[in-house]
Amino acid sequence: MIFETVLIIALGILMLSILANLYRVVKGPSSADRVQALDSVGINLIASIAVFSVLLHTHAFFDLILLIGILSFIGTIAFARFIERGVVIERKR
């Protein structure tokens, strides 16, 4: 009983942190701020999926942890390259 309460409190804390990240996404002065905050949203989403699968006693959602990790990494790299050079995939000359 105490264990489930602790898990629900952790989910609430993670939800608050995702909302605060969205504040930084809206307000951030440069676009690197927004990319960093969206990457942090992905990280917090991985953590909350882990807590949720412990809460539901199931291991059906572990694929999603790997999937969101890989997608968040690739998205951050693509946006960083776009900010830095203007293109994502360069053309060979």
């Binding site: 602790v6 804390i13 990280i43 953590a47």
Partner: protein
């Protein structure tokens, strides 16, 4: 149930470290300081939470999850790399540092290289 206490403490500690990183992401004044806060402590928090979940499924469901271990390794490798690329993109696209920062080695190095290039061509 000592295992339940340990897992609950790990998961709660991870959530608290995540929310501390978000406080840093809101309150710090600069892109680079914010990236410093967000990358390190969010990675630490998610590693604590995933390790707590791994211990839970090992102890109570008799299921050693390779996917969670792989997720731990993957997040631990890729999150600092993403922070590094993002900070480098911010610097090269001309985002200025906080005005209280005292040292910018990359700027002096770039100026020195440009002077050397102009001296060679001129």
């Amino acid at each position: 149930m000592i295992g339940e206490w340990l897992i609950g403490i790990l998961i709660l500690l991870g959530a608290i470290v995540c929310v501390i990183s978000v406080f840093g992401l809101i309150r710090l004044p600069d892109v680079y300081l914010r990236s410093h806060a967000a990358t390190k402590s969010a990675t630490m928090g998610v590693l604590l939470i995933l390790f707590g979940g791994f211990l839970y499924f090992w102890a109570f469901e008799n299921h050693i999850s390779i996917k969670l271990l792989l997720g731990i390794v993957f997040v631990f490798i890729t999150s600092p790399v993403a922070g590094h690329l993002n900070g480098r993109a911010a610097y090269r696209s001309g985002v200025s540092l906080w005005k209280g920062s005292v040292q910018d080695d990359l700027k002096t190095e770039r100026k020195r290289m440009e002077q050397k290039d102009s001296g060679k061509s001129g």
